[in-house]
């Protein structure tokens, strides 16, 4: 690893924020290396949004320090605001304005000259495939278009660090993929991104490193494959047409000696075979082999570890879903 040689775009040490009795953020340490995507994974009320709000100068921490792009969040908030972009559940655009007007306004607020602000608005609408909708009010946009506009709005100032707070929460799967694609493009340009999410799948898709938080504290951190190895990756669930065939199916897979089939299990009661997925090729090979052997399949599905399973694997306990914490996080938002 080269983490010693590269600079950290974000350095958080012992950050604390309490709302009355609730310890929303209770001593978080976090490093985000320049040019990487850090995923902050945690359930509702874990303190993710509170963390991002402190890192974007919207909330004052009670204790601890945070330095973003070299600026201290408490002592140098004005300089810091020049270097960040914020997109998320709450940092939104003006619904009554059109997409173009929103981007132009933000360009002007970031001190771009008029012509430059116009150019940048056109450019970003094009890049986020919103040119056609440019003149329509944002309130008429679909969920996915709104998020893309939010993303475009945060990119106008070419931020050194981009915060994405739950960028796909509430989107349907197809739209989610759309937003992921855009985020991946942003990342490919070498931007530093701090991403919060409730979804293991999203973290896996977008982040190179992960910090798992619960109840305002970090409970695990590491690179995504390492955490995944602990948690377990995707599994393929196969339901044969004849439930009695599950054992024979596992046998056939083992016989063929395909990758990962050593971990295949047969659940006779459910009539279900589970195979750990190790690669796309293996997935194809498994399904192909079963077809070649004449198995009739009633259903196949891939299954990702849920957030609960991740937490269970990492901590041996379920993620806390304390309702009062949720409520507080919402008030803070």
């Amino acid at each position: 690893m080269t983490s010693e040689k590269t600079t950290n775009a974000v350095e958080v040490r012992g950050l604390v924020k309490h709302f009355g009795e609730t310890k929303a953020v209770d001593g978080i340490d976090l490093d985000v290396r320049e040019g990487t995507v850090m995923g902050v994974l945690g359930p509702n009320g874990a303190g993710k949004t509170t963390l991002v709000r402190m890192l974007s100068t919207l909330l004052q921490p009670d204790a601890g320090t945070a330095v973003v792009a070299g600026y201290d969040v408490v002592r140098q908030p004005r300089q810091l605001r020049r270097t960040i972009g914020l997109t998320g559940q709450y940092a939104s655009v003006d619904e009554k304005l059109s997409g173009w007007e929103n981007l132009y306004m933000i360009g002007r607020l970031l001190d771009l000259p008029r012509s430059e602000a116009r150019k940048r608005a056109d450019e970003l609408l094009e890049r986020f495939s919103l040119t056609e909708a440019a003149r329509r009010p944002a309130s008429k946009y679909s969920g996915g278009m709104r998020r893309r506009l939010d993303l475009a709005a945060s990119m106008i100032g070419r931020p050194k660090v981009l915060y994405l707070d739950e960028p796909t929460t509430g989107l349907d799967p197809r739209t989610r993929n759309e937003v992921w694609e855009e985020v991946q493009n942003i990342v490919a340009d070498g931007n530093t991104v701090l991403l919060t999410t409730q979804y293991m799948e999203e973290a896996e898709q977008l982040a190179s490193e992960l910090t798992v938080v619960d109840r305002g504290r970090v409970i695990a951190e590491g690179r995504v494959p390492e955490l995944k190895a602990k948690v377990g990756g995707r599994t393929l669930e196969i339901r044969p047409g004849d439930p009695g065939e599950v054992t024979r199916m596992v046998g056939a897979l083992a016989q063929a000696g395909l990758d990962g089939v050593a971990g295949a299990t047969a659940d006779e009661a459910q009539g279900l075979v589970s195979v750990p997925i190790v690669s796309d090729e293996q997935l194809t090979a498994v399904v192909g082999l079963l077809g070649a052997r004449g198995f009739a399949l009633a259903d196949i599905a891939t299954h990702l570890p849920s957030l609960d399973e991740v937490f269970l694997a990492l901590t041996g306990q379920k993620a806390t879903h304390k309702d009062d914490e949720n409520a507080l996080e919402e008030v803070a938002a």
Partner: protein
């Protein structure tokens, strides 16, 4: 970071080192302050935003356009004859002269009320958080909003004067007085904005803001010399109207536009009220705006 580390929720890391680590805090050569010209540019962009909002949602101008029409027609034709002494048309004409200047301050107060709901909306919709995370002076958002509201007040006053003229209001050539009265009313209205901004920042929902604002407005508007002379009111109410700023605003406007009655006293009290309200409430509103989570 070559291995994934798992920590028990109880164990913390090493204590924080202020400004330590690989990203040293830069010395304050550029302290990031917003210059005056940049500030004006930001306010301009935000005023443009409010103007575009109105263009997109013309209904939001309904209050400024319709309120003066409805109130003028209502009071002139329903109450005018009776209030003016029961003499029908002649007393109605007399009442128009009394009513139109008086209602100017009331219009600016009713328009000012809307600023609270607007600010409240911005917070709930999340636009405000984007502004507050950007390198602009946080006050510029409030100033832009106030400028637009003053513009809306002027529209309402112009509509009021136009309707008044149609109903027989006679300026008798007091054009300068009228300009003075309009300016004074706008100044008073601007000072009221800060109160409603404060209310908008303090309440949970826009509906609540509207409800509470309305409750404050009604007694102030009717417990004043806006609609009728305060002579016939009971002593305690008359005492209230004497301190009610709307009375001073109405009396000033009458003095300036009709050339009758005292001018200096009411104008002085109006200015004192306007400056006083601004000095007392604006710092609170701005502080609350900065700190609001």
């Amino acid at each position: 970071m070559s291995t994934a580390t798992i920590k028990a929720p109880e164990s913390g890391k090493t204590p924080p080192v202020p400004g330590g680590g690989q990203a040293p805090v830069k010395p304050g050569a550029d302290d990031g302050r917003i210059g005056l010209r940049a500030n004006l540019r930001h306010i301009g962009a935000l005023v443009r935003r409010c103007a575009l909002q109105i263009k997109q949602d013309p209904e939001s101008m309904m209050d400024a356009l319709l309120m003066p029409i409805v109130f003028t027609l209502l009071f002139v034709y329903v109450f005018g004859g009776a209030i003016g002494g029961g003499g029908g048309g002649a007393s109605r004409d007399q009442y128009v002269q009394y009513l139109i200047p008086g209602m100017m301050g009331m219009m600016s107060m009713s328009i000012a009320m809307a600023v609270g709901t607007g600010i409240n909306e911005d917070f709930r919709k999340g636009v405000m958080d984007r502004f507050r995370s950007m390198p602009i002076a946080r006050s510029s958002v409030l100033i832009a909003k106030s400028l637009v509201e003053v513009g809306r007040m002027l529209v309402a006053i112009v509509v009021l004067l136009a309707v008044g003229l149609l109903c027989g209001f006679d300026l008798n050539g007091h054009w300068l007085g009228m300009l003075g009265a309009v300016g004074l009313t706008a100044l008073f209205g601007a000072s009221l904005l800060w109160i409603f901004i404060l209310v908008g920042l303090s309440m949970e929902t826009a509906q609540a803001v509207q409800g509470i604002s309305f409750l404050v407005l009604m007694p102030l508007q009717f417990g004043s010399s806006v609609f009728v002379s305060t002579d016939t009111m009971p002593g305690w109410l008359e005492a209230f109207t004497k301190v009610n700023p709307l009375t001073h605003v109405a009396d000033s406007a009458r003095g300036l536009m009709l050339g009758q009655g005292a001018v200096a006293g009411p104008v002085m009290w109006t200015v004192i009220w306007a400056v006083g309200l601004t000095v007392v409430t604006a710092p609170f509103a701005i502080a609350k705006f900065r700190k609001k989570v």
